[in-house]
Subunit: 144 residues, 2 copies
């Protein structure tokens, strides 16, 4: 029985706000479907080098709103991405007003949250970077 | 800024029960780490043909339990997999006592839930199968 990984779907409360967030991470919009009948928009995002559909993040936006969003839960963990420069990306995110819940003190790993509280893990590609301020002495904020 | 998809992590209440579930879907255990200090076990599962780490599902099992599991939420959607024979797999799952929340009436798509209520989408590889009983007339159960 063959099985292959396809995508991860998350629901979003505000499509524009969420698109801005995920594009800031470096994802691109690969595909979009809109359904008048179902009153929803699905946007498929992916890393630019993985645009063959095997690594998609699907955003589901319900036109009539979703009052249950954003929320938090325990059974969903996080989405993980390797990134080229974890310090540069975290600085960009912080400059955009996004909380770095777990700063990359070790030059290797950070956590942030999407506008809908989806926990996103960022991992430095290759070797960890040497510890560097302001990250090295920055404490955690909230949980992830 | 390069970014590449890495894995999806979900927390599980009972590691054995969850491993049995995901292995029944066709995933294999690729890697496992146990931490005495952190009192957790992480098991990385993947489709057999995607064992290079780019399509991992990471199960996090906390040795001291996680009373918040299983739960349900809105912001996390589902994990999607393409499968070789959606009818055969759904029959296997049903025989094992697993509810087919959304039966593959169209020969294309089904939804089930993991023991921790993670919603799993199953998609038929290639062309949809012709509608077939018992699926064609089977109603939905719950939501997904």
């Amino acid at each position: 029985m063959k099985i292959s990984y396809r995508h991860l779907m998350v629901r979003v409360k505000d499509l524009d706000v969420s698109l801005a967030f995920y594009k800031r991470l470096g994802l691109i919009e690969r595909h979009r479907t809109e359904s008048e009948a179902g009153r929803y928009t699905n946007v498929f995002l992916c890393p630019p080098d993985q645009a063959d559909g095997h690594a998609d993040l699907e955003l589901t936006y319900n036109w009539d709103g979703d009052d249950a969003l954003p929320n938090d839960s325990r059974h969903f963990g996080h989405i993980a991405y390797r990134v080229e420069d974890i310090y540069a990306l975290c600085q960009e995110l912080m400059d955009a007003g996004i909380t770095i819940n777990r700063p990359p003190r070790d030059g290797h790993m950070a956590f942030v949250r999407s506008p809908d509280n989806i926990s996103i893990e960022l991992l430095q590609m290759g070797e960890s970077k040497p510890p560097q301020e302001p990250w090295a002495s920055m404490g955690n904020t909230g949980h992830w």
